[in-house]
Symmetry: C2
DNA sequence: GTCTATAGCGAGATAGAC
DNA sequence: GTCTATCTCGCTATAGAC
């Protein structure tokens, strides 16, 4: 609030977060030392503790911010006229959002086990909210006769796993543009839910 | 060959592997110490080095064995009469195999980044061979007019990601039996490839 | 085949100077 | 706001007794 603008802390903090995000994604939380993060930022290790209570808090902050962004951007999607259109919007949103933040996505999935129980619970709740959104969408579509799915919960898991999988193989400048990948996955999702 | 049967090493070795597998899956390779593994087995830490050159070799052995099992069991599946039947066999095999070895599956995916480059290359090659099997199956089915897939490579990635995802939520004694889960996923896979 | 003991190192975190 | 210096701990790996 009353904080002076452009204090060096306003610059250092995001630099620490960016360095930690990248290093955690590359090598894993447990394998990365505070010294490595400090070196990547260009400060000494003691400086990091001005911005984070400890290493665990740094990890949790990164994951929490990521999940909050995911949920708020999902909520910001325009309302679709039909269940089919809503599912298409979700499909394309999921691929684009996850592709644009592959480091954070990787961490949010792989480092869950390195969170202490309370922090784990909070992240899990957000992940379940995201899944519940898709499940609700599938339920409405099925009830409206637009989809044929044997089990909406399993279909939600299956769709999310399928779409998140794009991150494991997609590379910029490869055989297909991301737009084209979206088109292909949307065809597969649409057929999988019997639309 | 000429080794005496039931020497204590024949017992200790698999116990070390089992303990390492479980601990690596639970907490991650980097977060698990050789001391923890030794304690889980009930030996002192020096003993571990009688069975493994170092921690990295222990990880690689576990991953290599897992991938070899995966490929040999896949190769042992009876030949199916049609592409559709072959895809159903693959679907059910993948779910069952991965469910039965969830610790090894988790490690083989999550700890790739902790392998040194040469070891990484070997595991990656086996993973690609598995994907290529499914891709080949999809190509034959599409050419025979049994499937409608826009891109067989992407369909293979999508199917594998979808099926492997079962491990993230399935729990013994839950709402659905594994057999039932197989049925539901097979319906989704079948529809996704336009069969 | 397993143990005890330890070398050598790097980790997370903190204190206090500037 | 950042640095230097350091405390304390636990790690991988090895040596040598039994």
């Amino acid at each position: 609030m009353a904080r002076k603008k452009n204090s060096s802390g306003d610059i250092t903090r995001p630099r620490i977060r960016a360095a930690a995000l990248r290093l955690f994604a590359r090598h894993g939380y447990a394998a990365v030392s505070m010294r490595q993060i400090a070196a990547a930022v260009g400060v000494q290790v003691g400086t990091l503790y001005l911005y984070t209570a400890d290493k665990q808090s740094l990890l949790f902050d990164l994951m929490e911010t990521h999940m909050q962004d995911l949920l708020s951007e999902l909520a910001a999607l325009p309302t679709a006229p039909t269940p089919l259109a809503a599912l298409e919007d979700f499909t394309r949103f999921h691929i684009r959002f996850h592709r644009a933040r592959s480091d954070a996505v990787f961490i949010a999935y792989m480092e869950l086990r390195n969170l202490d129980p309370e922090n784990f619970g909070r992240i899990e709740a957000m992940r379940r909210a995201y899944e519940a959104h898709l499940d609700g969408l599938l339920i409405r579509g099925r009830d409206a006769g637009a989809f044929t799915v044997p089990d909406t919960k399993l279909a939600a898991f299956a769709v999310i796993a399928m779409l998140t999988g794009v991150n494991t193989w997609y590379r910029e400048g490869g055989r297909l543009s991301l737009e084209h990948v979206e088109d292909i996955y949307w065809q597969m999702v649409r057929k999988a839910v019997g639309a």
